[in-house]
Symmetry: C2
Subunit: 430 residues, 2 copies
């Protein structure tokens, strides 16, 4: 059995406590896998006196990060404080002091992953961040190793548990967004301030990380077209069901001829799509590879122990590398120049729901507009609105490019017969 | 850029041709990932003159395996001939000649994986076999690395595409087993001799490999309780649908208190179970970890390019290890003593369908029997059979141990009021 590996832990909140618990409870199995004991040697906390869920010897606690960064006995630093500035400065300091780093910090990795990974490589240190995307699902590893031989052409992620929970409940129980959000907050599935989840920002950060790895280009948040789920209505969901679709908040990263589009938006998927059965707070990442075809990785996207599982799996990888003397060798930096698609390059089907005047010829005015723009229609529903001289029209187009679609949408809104375009969504198939 | 890595390929059938195609088509990406060119230097074939789908220079072909095994320029041998004896002797010879080996051979790995892995370790060689289970799904890597920190308590696999295709079609189109099998053979989804698929043997081999890795015990085929899908009837599927279940051929490997049960059998899953939506020829492995909870890995279980994807991903891993000088270090041998559950340790719910005499008190005779055995019932359907003095009774039990269940089953068949027990299946939930 090798010498004990010592870990310094930054933060003892939900994730940090889970890590302590796993390292304690699974000590025997960990030793079996890595051939040496692992101990948490010091823990950075804000409040030394606070009551905690997890049992830790108070002598391990410190309020001074330098006690960890400059402890020459500490081999690996686990960052679990979250946030940007402080976490970043501590990770850089740790790397520059030749400590390997494991982090679950998606905000930071999405924002400054490139810089941190370069620092890791320069210092021959590992920097792993499996837990930053889709919690307990080993998706980053699968992209980098399992699918290393293939060319990925499309990734679609349900990478935010809160919004998936909300959309699932809206769909199953025919409830409004507001009602479900309130319920989700009561149950702890949504934060008191849910903005970053429901506006799609959290998912966008994860898509930046996935896209950067999957396409080996350095993407940033500014490359992601983001839209949340706040405007999704019960009617939208009811109509999509009638047409055989399931509504999901999808992070999409799609490559064609070397150019990539990245977006997060409420999207209609055919019911048979593997992602359509991913319900409640679960996450899944669907990866399409040129050779392998369709694959999907499913599991818990958050939660104390699932996240800790990913963090400790990264720790195992670091320690295995230490024992082989190969740390820093598996740090992967983007190798291709970033190329983003233009609106002309983006092809998709679209769903549009609108209120039109219920008068002779109204419908043909609309279909003529689509025809003029070269967009053919795949599905159509027209229904009179009771007691009003209006009808509701729902259209699903065949594939068209985004430019033609946006133009059509704008002209549609100017049509006399169109009272209002109530909603529109992207429709994605395989 | 490093020196070219040379590969010797044993076999140029479906998998072998796919490997050649991927190494050729993805050369640029492979070089980017591993930092050196990869070439297929020699290929063992049976017939030098045969027409092939893939373009290969005829000077690469040989009928003599020694041309590959003893070529000192060849670093890695890819075994794609299948079968047991010859493949085994060639792999051992290659390892003993310090060549790393990648194989897709599930039969061999299930039968003699331990011996081959020991030989690899002794020779400081890698032996990878990701393609042997669930084709394009990187499940072995996920077990060993992504979930390395957790304790796995249950694995359930849809690991045979042919039987999943058959059950899906039977269920969706209300067809008989025989009709669908015939159709599947016409379409190439089932072999001319489908025995090993439909009798569950193919799935059993994969479960041996998964269980050995997941529980770090050396299992063999003799440890798997195997039953195929040939007796699954349209009526069974219709009743399971009515009760909210989906019928799947499930490879189950479940651990409780350090003891493991392994089986392959047609199983009823609740419709909401993630595996219930895995349709057609797709495969998926559901893994339950103590900390992570539910995860699932989904993708193509077979096919030329999906399998080649896994083989070439293993090749990439071998080459990365070569460049780091750490080959043979990630070979994992079972570390725990094998412990199998007894019938008393196996807990499950069960589905039973039987024909009973339609006479007063018949039903209570049956329910009394279950009560005596301490088995309570969760769901019940009783339906008179038209024009017969008989009724059909379908029962789903609550959880019970296998011993009590088998005893009940045997006594049930002896009951006067029971005409025939038509079928019985295990019911698995989370």
């Amino acid at each position: 059995m090798g010498e004990t590996v010592s870990v310094g832990l930054l933060g003892l909140g939900t994730v940090g406590s889970g890590v302590v618990q796993m390292i304690t409870d699974h000590q025997k199995e960990l030793q079996q896998r890595i051939g040496c004991p692992v101990e948490v040697r010091k823990i950075l906390v804000q409040d030394m006196e606070k009551e905690r869920d997890v049992q830790v010897d108070s002598s391990l606690l410190t309020k001074d990060a330098d006690d960890i960064i400059f402890d020459s006995d500490i081999d690996v630093v686990i960052e679990a404080i979250g946030g940007i500035e402080k976490a970043q400065s501590l990770i850089l300091k740790a790397l520059n002091n030749k400590k390997h780093v494991v982090t679950a910090n998606k905000d930071l990795m999405a924002l400054n992953g490139g810089e941190l990974l370069s620092a890791a490589r320069e210092n021959d240190c590992d920097l792993f961040y499996e837990a930053s995307v889709a919690g307990g699902i080993p998706i980053l590893r699968s992209l980098v190793e399992g699918l290393s031989s293939d060319r990925i052409t499309k990734m679609m992620g349900i990478v935010n548990g809160t919004t998936n929970y909300i959309l699932t409940k809206m769909s199953k129980n025919k409830l409004s967004f507001e009602d479900v959000l309130k319920k989700a907050q009561e149950l702890g599935f949504a934060e008191a301030d849910p903005t970053s989840d429901i506006e799609g920002l959290d998912a966008a950060r994860k898509m930046v990380i996935l896209s950067t790895l999957g396409y080996s280009m350095k993407f940033g948040l500014e490359d992601v077209d983001v839209e949340g789920i706040t405007r999704v209505s019960e009617e939208d969901i009811a109509y999509s069901k009638r047409l055989g679709y399931t509504m999901k908040l999808i992070g999409l990263a799609k490559a064609d001829n070397g150019s990539v589009e990245i977006s997060v938006q409420p999207t209609l998927l055919p019911n048979e799509h593997p992602l359509s059965s991913v319900n409640d707070e679960y996450n899944a990442v669907y990866v399409y590879g040129e050779a392998v075809g369709e694959t999907m990785f499913y599991g818990p996207g958050a939660g104390q122990l699932p996240t800790a599982t990913a963090v400790v799996a990264d720790l195992v990888a670091v320690i295995k590398n230490m024992r082989l003397g190969v740390n820093g060798k598996s740090v992967i930096l983007p190798q291709n120049e970033k190329k983003l698609k233009t609106a002309e390059d983006i092809d998709s089907k679209y769903f549009l729901r609108m209120i039109v005047k219920d008068e002779a010829g109204a419908f043909s005015v609309i279909t003529n507009l689509f025809k003029e723009q070269g967009i053919s229609l795949e599905k159509l529903i027209q229904e009179p609105l009771v007691n009003q001289k209006q009808a509701e029209v729902v259209i699903v187009t065949h594939k068209t490019n985004q430019k033609a679609y946006e133009e059509t949408y704008n002209r549609l809104r100017d049509l006399d017969v169109v009272v209002e375009v109530k909603s529109r969504y992207r429709v994605e198939e395989v």
